[in-house]
Amino acid sequence: MNFFYFSSPSTFFRLAGRLAPAFFILAAVLAAAGLYVGLVQAPTDAVQGEVYRVIFIHVPAAWMSMFIYFVMACYGAMALTFNSRLSAMMARALAPTGAMFTFVALWTGAFWGRPTWGTYWVWDARITSELVLLFLYLGFIALSNAFEEPRRGDRAASLLSIIGIVNLPIIYFSVQWWNTLHQGSSIKLTGSSMHVTMLTAMLLMTFAAWMYAIAASLVRVRSVILERERRARWVRDLGRT
């Protein structure tokens, strides 16, 4: 099978149309399971009481915010090196979802900080660098829409996403590099300090978020393709049939 078969926008448009609902359903099922385990089965925390359950949204969102940026930068690099239009469109389609997860991580973190730390906001290294990540996303979106020629926006924004990737290690390692208020990693490959049901719920929610991210970006990339190729024959044929 030709590897580049799906990299033609028209084929990918149809493929994405078929895949997106499947991922949405998967995300819904996983989220329902995760919420059930997290909200019903997981025990109440000895120190924090019920409020700790924010973790089941907070941590998956925080992980996804970084992961999506990484994927976006990879697409950006592909767009620049292979000059492939579809990669640039994928990067563009991922950015709003990434920004959304970043915002959710910030919001739930602030919401959580009130009962635990006694304040909505601290200028802690991790929290601040997560805020910076939000601005990187916003910068990407703003730059990709700042030109009349969409191609220019694609190329400029791809370049930006690659340059901006230096921020990721800083967010991730910030808890190790500085002693901060925010807690460090509790999930390690070798044994975890967390209750098993909590871990299960968190992983379920993470996969749900992942599936949702894929589904959402597939839907968005479809509309980007449509807008970009509106003068192409196959799009006009779509309208006719």
Binding site: A146, F147, L160
Partner: protein
Amino acid sequence: MSGLAWAFSRDLTLAWRHPGEAMLTLAFFVLVASLFPLGIGADPQLLARVGPGVIWVCALLAAFLGLPSLFASDHADGTLEQMALSADPIAAWVSGKIAAHWLSTGLPLTLLSPLLGLQYGLPADALVTLGAALLLGTPVLSLLGAACAALTLGARGGGMLLALLALPLFVPVLVFGAGAAEATAAGLSASPHLSLLGAGLLVAAVSVPFAVGSAIRIALD
């Protein structure tokens, strides 16, 4: 290398024609740095604590102020086209321009920082760390800033878009620079932070001119 040389000398001459702009950056730096004691009171211990951080943030902002004009006027009057067509590789003269930019904003600022540090009552070792960190960090700021300036050429957002792009990228530099000062204050060695900054400078100096070059090609298209 000749591209680096002519672009460097040209931009430096131009900057010298308008010393006002470079002075504005410096003046801004000094103004902001000296406003802080006014704003937060003259408690020496407090000042010594916030000193390096304030100086770093001022350096960041000062480096940012000169960015919009780095390529914009050359773009508007057609010089950028001529440069892009020159026989020298684009990365060479871009490096020259960036070097000139650093020399007219970053360097004066670095040279001035010990003086400001003294005003904040920093001890001698902290002054040395601060100066060294700025010497390594400000070129990185110029390099990253140039990349953002090139990316936003001809874009609709103007200066604000540039800020949105550049300031997040500046953050790592700020974090390591301020980290070096903090380490010294805590009696630890600043060299891990400084070597990270140095490594960052090397990587940026080698890779950014090419990124800027392709951004400019994109802008001229």
